[in-house]
Symmetry: C2
Subunit: 506 residues, 2 copies
């Protein structure tokens, strides 16, 4: 029997090791950020080995048997506070999961990821799927092996989903995407019967510097803390964090697309607000980490869509935009821009899709991933499958693989199970936003005058501060009274888009 003092000193040891691992992971994150933002083109070779060394050592620390023994002892005691216990149990869960993958397997996975990524880059550039699929095939074989190593109840894909959103299953996703297929398809059909909204004015020449400085202004007003974060340029926008006190977002400027930088910046800003809202006193521990990728995405989508594409926000934002772009927006009023930034139009590229058709892009990937992992479709048939599904759900014809099956980097990295969190996040976003407005009825009025405090406070209080303490659905239940409820998203979408496109809401 361990005394309370013994246990507390064991807990201290656990914290020390876990936070040390976080130091190495966070340093590795800085190396990655630097690679995207600053690193000269010829510096990749040594950078790769440095990143690998940091990741490897961090992994070593949290998979060491002595670490597991400490966790086991902490799990069996009653001497810990509630949050200490939560940390220890979550870390023990992680430990067991990590131990399921032998180091040799992780090496294989890492190597294959690097090879597949290179093959994908080349294949996408040359529009030649055949250059990619032999390497993708090997990657999928490894992912199937990973499912077996992890173990699963019903569907092997469940094992992979769990990495991105603890506890989510194909059973649940089939339900949700089933509703997407029925209800969202229905709504989309109604929209497409209506005359299209005008948005040509979004594609004039907008000075890039002005777009950037406008985005900084918006980030400041939604509450991004620039004393503990920054925004830079990179080829693909992303958010990363080296501690809750150092959160970095990136963006990309396109002169001829006003919808690009601003809403991407708000999206990453939403991710960043979450990271900045994680408790500093749980640095590196489960309670200091984000709940799941779905919840992470709920924060970015809430700010990007529920807030950023709302009429209330545009009332605040558009006058600011007009100050910077008076000539470009001379003939544009709020109603016009509101419609334009909410234009719904089936398209080929996921990252450029609107708020509604986006989920069909995700659905397609979900169906393909599930089938690939189950061994129900062959790699070489992917272009055909892809193009058929795009035709089925979005009624678009895919002209080539570069902007078809080769558009996303995820599969080359072996990130199977990631895509669904994009949709889940969007659906949680609406649910959170509605709950926040219900509790704080002035939120929408506040947004009109650029005051986002009540909303941010609600998110801090109901979502951010818990870290990984709860699963996505537990958190949703605590914050909104129920688990993920897709009908709330449909209600929001119907109300919004029936008004924009002019049809009856029912």
């Amino acid at each position: 029997m361990k005394s309370k003092t013994d246990i507390q000193s064991l807990y201290f040891k656990y914290v020390e090791t876990t936070q040390k691992a976080a130091d190495f992971n966070n340093a590795a994150a800085l190396l990655d950020w630097d690679q995207e933002v600053n690193m000269p083109s010829g510096s990749a070779t040594f950078r790769a080995r440095q990143s690998a060394s940091l990741a490897e050592y961090a992994h070593h620390l949290i998979t060491d048997e002595s670490y597991g023994k400490i966790l086991q002892q902490l799990a069996d005691t009653t001497f810990l506070s509630e949050s200490q216990q939560a940390n220890a149990l979550l870390s023990l869960e992680d430990f067991h999961k990590h131990k399921k993958l032998p180091a040799s397997f992780i090496n294989k996975l890492t190597n294959q990821a690097s090879i597949s990524f290179q093959a994908w880059t080349k294949a996408k550039k040359k529009n030649q799927f055949s250059l990619f699929y032999p390497e993708l095939e090997k990657m999928i074989a490894l992912k199937r092996q990973q499912c077996d190593l992890y173990g699963f109840q019903t569907h092997p894909y469940d094992a992979l989903l769990d990495d991105y959103d603890r506890g989510i299953t194909t059973t649940r996703l089939d339900e949700i995407f089933g509703e997407v297929k029925t209800h969202l398809s229905n709504l989309l059909e109604k929209i497409l019967q209506k005359p299209q909204v005008e948005d040509d004015f979004l594609y004039q020449a907008f000075d890039k510097e002005n777009q950037f400085s406008l985005s900084i202004e918006i980030l400041k007003s939604i509450g991004f803390n620039f004393e503990e974060g920054r925004q830079d340029y990179s080829e693909h926008p992303f958010t990363t964090s080296f501690s809750p006190q150092d959160v970095r977002i990136t963006t990309r400027a396109e002169q001829k697309n006003f919808k690009g930088l601003i809403w991407s910046s708000i999206h990453e800003g939403g991710h960043a607000l979450y990271e900045q809202g994680l408790p500093t006193d749980a640095y590196g521990l489960p309670l200091g980490m984000p709940a799941s990728l779905s919840i992470h995405e709920s924060q970015s989508r809430l700010w990007e869509n529920c807030v950023g594409r709302s009429a209330a926000f545009l009332k605040y934002f558009f006058p600011l935009a007009k100050q910077k772009f008076s000539t470009e927006f001379e003939q544009v009023d709020i109603s016009m821009i509101y419609k334009a930034v909410n234009k719904v139009q089936p398209s080929l590229i996921r990252t450029e899709a609107d708020e509604l058709t986006y989920h069909f892009h995700v659905l397609i990937r979900y169906e393909i991933e599930k089938a690939l992992i189950a061994g129900e479709i062959q790699c070489k048939d992917l272009p055909t499958v892809w193009n058929e599904l795009y035709n089925k759900y979005l009624k678009v014809v895919v002209p080539n693989d570069t902007i078809g099956v080769l558009q996303d980097v995820h599969w080359s990295h072996g990130s199977f199970g990631y895509f669904p969190t994009y949709s889940l996040g969007s659906f949680y976003a609406v649910q959170f936003f509605e709950a926040a407005k219900k509790e704080n009825p002035t939120i929408e009025q506040d947004i009109q005058i650029g005051n986002f405090q009540l909303l941010l406070q609600w998110l801090r209080q109901k979502v951010h501060r818990y870290g990984r303490r709860y699963s996505s659905d537990e958190l949703s239940k605590l914050a909104t009274g129920s688990e993920l409820n897709f009908s709330l998203f449909m209600k929001y979408a119907r109300e919004k888009y029936s008004a924009i496109y002019g049809f009856d809401v029912n």
Copy 2:
């Protein structure tokens, strides 16, 4: 007895561990670079612990007993190639040196450095030496202890000097600075009897962006590889490197001082060319590291002074500068700018000193450090000692401690023994430059047309490629035929400054 295969596999293990340690040190260097260049102001707390974790683990790797055993076995064998042996022996030397400082002592040193640095920052800001000296006193006590732990033959200060330039001693420095005192004082006296050169035109308003882009142009032409490096802004200019393929320099722009950014940039560029010239195949190993801080400084000073402040360089450079600053330099010709950037004038601040008086700043610090470490002077008396020495050697009156004894950060960090390398570097610089010109008589003509290839090739061939294989003086002997010869510097200085100030060279 180990077989040749055993030895090669031991050597492989040695390389693996040493390069792994380099990965962590280089990652830590990126964290430091980021801190100076990008990091938001509120992010310091977690960054500090991340840096510490990386440094600690790197240190652990190369002080582990098993690592020492491998090195010992490699040292005792004849199965290694010449360069393998050089690596192993140098690493064994490092290992023994590292082992002399117990972890508890290093902790004390690191903690005291952080405390002393904070005290120094405050003291400098408030011009109050009393806020600093109690912490400096503790630092000096630790450095004296470090001398005892390292061991020394003649003077305890020798033990510290060795950290920055292997094998250099107070005996040798006394000789060199003895010559500085006699010969350089003499030259300085002659200069100061002459009318001062005009340089007012260097202190107009020079657009900062233009200064920066001019420096980029110069860096490109001297051979800095921007595919494997970059220049950014920071408060204090510095050079760092994460591999020979990722070398970063920083600079600072002052609108009202044309001498600031450009020559600081060339100086850091010289450091950077050295780092970029280190052999990539010895990454992280002694033969992939710089020879010493003196040799490092010789590279920066060679480019900054021997090249950058030469008439030949100005013939190439000044037309470029005039393109950017046509109004500012309308009335200025090459002879005027040549004299202006070589103006000699005793002053208070080391980092702003000219090429000649600079060495009295170093001499003063050398004398003080030696006496402090020997316990011959007391910390609290430092301002008096400092002011007396500035009066003695430079005939200047120090008005306050902020720009006097508190001007440099080095002592707060515990960097005793560092300053002398600044002077040694300058003296080696001249010696290398003269040897390069002797072997390649067209170098000076080439410089006039902005062609620096022959010079860079010579440095690559004679200095850069050897890494740490030779000590400073061994390298000098190989490259120039003799160890450091101060009279070459004096000859260079006499010829240059007698022409500028108009007096007889003898």
